[in-house]
Symmetry: D3
Subunit: 190 residues, 6 copies
C-alpha cells in the first residue's frame, strides 16, 4: 500500500547487476514509456528466461498479420482475467486502451467480453482464445470452422492460439512471482 | 460502440412513464452524481422489484456497522468479477476508489484480491465473501472462526454474507439484462 | 434431532422484540399456515433486510404473469438443490406439491428435472433458470431464443431470471445462517 | 405424469420372459415390499448384469459391520443427490427414513448433509464418502485419519468407499436408463 | 520402487486364506497370464465383493455384442485416465494394445482420445462414454442420437454406458485401496 | 493409424525451407536421437516462435539447479496429463524413463503421482507444480512454505513454477496443432 510495496515476492536485481543486453532493453523501454514496466524487472533475475520470454512475446505481439494490435491485446486481457492475473490485465488493459483508442474497452473485455463494445468477429476470436486458454484439449475442427465463418485464416488461428498460450505461461509466472502492476498503467489512456 | 449502444437488452421506460417514487429517487441520484447510473433505468420497468432491490441494497450498503464503506465495496468488486458482471465491477469499482481514496485498489481487488494492497483482515473478509458467493453450501463454523481471528463479529459475518448474497442476485440480473455500465464510471476517481 | 435443534446459527428475536410490521406479517403467516416458516424468524433480526427480502420475493412469486405458481416453484426447487440449500428445497418443495397438486413432482424436479414429469416447455424454462443460476455470465441471445420456441415472452424470460437470481441470494443466506426447514414442510401435500 | 409413464427408456421384459432366478428374486421383493422397485425391472433385461449388480449391492448393504443400516443409506442418499440420480435418492431416501426411524433425515442428508440432524461422526463418514464419489483420486492418508478420529476402522473405511463406489455405478446406470422411481417411495415413512 | 512396494494400502490375504472358488479363479488367471494381476489380490479379502465385481466385469467385457473387445478397452482406458486411476489405465492399456494389436493406441486414447488413431465412430463412442462417466445426469436423447448416426444400436448404448459405469466403481476402489499396477503391464504389447 | 497420419493439422515445412539455424538444430537433434521429435517440425513454420520456444525450454530444462533432470520431467508429465496433452505426456514420459532409469515411473506420475514410486519430497514438488498449472492465482505463501519443509529453496520454487508455466504454453500449442507424438517415444526405455 505504501510506495515501497514490493514489485515481486522474489528479489529484483539492480540495473547494474543485469547483463548488458537486458539492461539495454530495459533502458530502451524506459526511454520510450517513461517508466520500467515491472515485468522486465521481475524476470531479469533469470536472464535466459527473460530473453526467451520477450522473444516469444515479440514474435506474437509485434509480428505482421491480420490481427490488429488491439485485437491481440483483447486476447491477452480476456484470458488473463479468467486466470486472475493482476499484472497482465492491468498492464495489457492499458495497452489495449491505447491500441484501440477506446477508454472503455479494456475493462469491458476483461470482465465479460460477450457484453463488450466489440464486433461479432472479435467475439468469435475471443471464444476461440478462451477455449485455448481454459480447455485446449477440447479444441476440435468445429472451433476452427467457427473462426473461418468470420474470415479468420489458418494463420490467424495459430496467432490467436499462440497468444492465448503464451499468456497462459505469463499469467502463471506473474501470479507465482506476485508481480505488481506499475501504478502508471491503471489510469493510462482512460 | 456508438453512443447509441443500448443500456439493456430489455426496453427502458422514460422518466415520465415511471411511478412517482421511482422517478423521484432517480432524479435525486442524478442530482447527486451528475448522471443516472444505468442500474436505475434498467430495473425501473419493474417497479416492485426496483423498490425491493434498492431497499435491500441500502439495508446492506448504507447501514451502520463495523465494515467500512470501502470494505463493503471490496466485497462487491471481488465477487462480481468472479461472476463476470461488467456493470457491478465497473460501477462499484468506481465507488470503491472513491470510498478508499485509492485509485489502484478497485482493479487490484477485482482481478485477484490476494495480491491487492489491502490488509490481512480484509483478505480474510474476502476469503469468506468469495466462499459465500461461490460455494455457500460448504461454509461451516471454521469459516466463521477464521473471521473472528481478525476481530470480525457475528454481525460482521452476517454483513459480509449479506453483501455477497445480494450481489449474487445483482450480478445475475445485470448479466441477463445486459446492463451497460455508464461511461462515467470507468475513469472516475482514478 | 431433538425438538430443541436451533433454527439458525444466529439468535432469533422473540415476536415481542420485532418491529410491529414484521410481527404482524409473521402472525398473518402463522394464521394462514398454522405455523411460522423459519425463514421469517431467521431474517427478522435484520428488519430492513427482512422487509426488502419479502418485498422482492412477493414481487416475483405473487405477481401476475404467464408463469404458473407451480412453475415458479419449480424454478426455486431446481436451482436450490444445485446450490445445496436445505431450507429452500424443502419449504418450496412443499409449496410446489401444493401448487401443482402433484405429490411426486417436487422431489423429481429437485434431483433431476430432466427426468421429471413436466412438459418440454417446463424443461426449457428450467434449462434457462439453471443457466442463470450457475453461469449467468454465459447467457446469450440463443438462450432467449430457446425460450421463445416454447412460447415464452420477454417478460417471462425476465420472470424466470428474476426468480433464479432472487433464490441465488436466498440460498446463500439460508446456508450461511444454517436456516432449518420446519418439520411441517417435509410431509406436506405428499 | 400419467400412470403409463415409462419406467425406463429401454424396454422392460415381462416376468415370464425373465430367467427363473431373477423372476424369483423379484417376486420375493414384491412379496416383502408390496410392489416391485423399478430397479429390478429395469436391469432384468440383462440377466448377468442384474445378478452381479444385486450381489454387489447385498455384499455391501446387507453384510455385518460397524456401519448401521441407516448410515449405509445416508451414504447412498448424499452421494446420489450430488450425482443427480432421481431413482437412488428417492428409493434409498425412503429406506433411510425407515432404517433411521426418522421422517426428516433423508431430505436433509440428500440436500446438504452438513446441516442434517446427524452426528459429527456421521458427517465425517459422509465427508469421506463424498470425496470417494467426487474425487477419489485425491483421497490420501489424512482422509483415512479423519475417519479414525471418529472411531472408524480400516474395514469401515472400505465399507464407506465400497458403498460410495457402487452407487457411482448405480447412479450412472439409473440416469442412462432414465429409471423412474416408483410412486410408492415418495411418501414412505414420512 | 523396491520389490516390496505394497500392492494395496489394505492387507492382502494369502492364497491359502482365500475361499476355494476365489483361489481357483486366481490360479487360473495366473496360469493364463503368467502372473496374478493385483486387482484379484486386492479385492480377495472381501470374497462377496470379489465375486460380484468379476461377475459384473465379465458380464460387460466378455459378453457377445457389437463392440469389439478393443473398443470396450478403449472405454476403460479413456474414462479411467480422467478419473486418474493408475491401475485401470495401466492394466487395461496393456489389454487394449493386445486387443487392438496396436502398440500406440492405449497411450493415445488415455491422454486425449480426440487425437487418437481411432475412427470417428470410436470417437463418438468415447464422447458418450465420457459423458456417462463424468456427467451422466446430463445425458439426454440427443446423446443417444449421436451414437445412432454412427450405427450404434440401443444395446450398444447400454454396453457403452455399462462399461463406463462399472469402471466408475472400479476406478474409485482402485484409488481408495491404492491398488498398484503389476510391473508386467507397463511394457506389455508395446 | 497408417504411416501417413499427419504430424500436425498445420502444414510442415521441409528441412530445405527452414532457416539455417533451425535446420541445424533439427539435424543435430536427429543425429543425437536417431529421429526428429515432431515438436521441432510442427513449430518450425514459425521460426521466431520456434527459437523462443526452445530457448525457453532449454533455459528451464537444461540449466544447473537442485532439481534433477528426472524431477523436471516429472513436472512436465504430471501437469501435461491433466491438460490432456498427448505429445507432452508421451515424449516427456520417454525422457523421464531415461532420466530416472525407471521404466514404470512415467505412467505412474502421469496418471496419479500421489500413487507413484517417488519420494514425499517429489510429491510435494508435484503438489506445487499442479497448483501452478491449474490454479496459479491461488498460490500463496503457505504453498511456498510446504516446499521449504522438504528443503526446496526459493530458486527451486521458481524452477518448478517456470516448468509448470512453460508447459502450460506447450500443452496448449500441442493440442491446438494436433501435434502427433513420434512412434519412437512410446516404447522408449521401457
Amino acid at each position: 500500500m505504501s510506495e515501497t510495496a514490493p514489485i515481486s515476492r522474489f528479489p529484483i536485481p539492480t540495473l547494474e547487476e543485469m547483463p548488458e543486453d537486458i539492461r539495454a532493453r530495459i533502458l530502451a523501454v524506459q526511454e520510450k514509456s517513461g517508466f520500467i514496466p515491472n515485468v522486465f524487472l521481475v524476470l531479469a533475475r533469470r536472464p535466459d528466461e527473460f530473453r526467451a520470454f520477450f522473444a516469444y512475446h515479440d514474435a506474437l505481439m509485434d509480428k505482421p498479420g491480420n490481427l490488429t494490435k488491439a485485437e491481440r491485446e483483447m486476447i491477452v486481457v480476456a484470458t488473463s482475467n479468467l486466470n486472475q492475473c493482476q499484472y497482465c490485465v492491468i498492464a495489457h488493459g492499458a495497452i489495449l486502451r491505447i491500441r484501440a483508442k477506446n477508454p472503455l474497452i479494456a475493462d469491458q473485455v476483461a470482465i465479460n467480453y460477450r457484453k463488450a463494445d466489440i464486433t461479432d468477429r472479435q467475439k468469435a476470436m475471443l471464444d476461440f482464445a478462451i477455449k485455448v486458454s481454459q480447455t485446449a484439449h477440447m479444441v476440435q475442427e468445429p472451433d476452427f470452422d467457427a473462426l473461418k465463418i468470420h474470415g479468420f485464416t489458418e494463420e490467424d488461428a495459430w496467432d490467436i492460439a499462440g497468444i492465448a498460450s503464451f499468456f497462459a505461461l505469463s499469467n502463471r509466472m506473474a501470479n507465482i512471482t506476485a508481480m505488481r502492476p506499475n501504478a502508471e498503467f491503471f489510469a493510462m489512456a482512460r
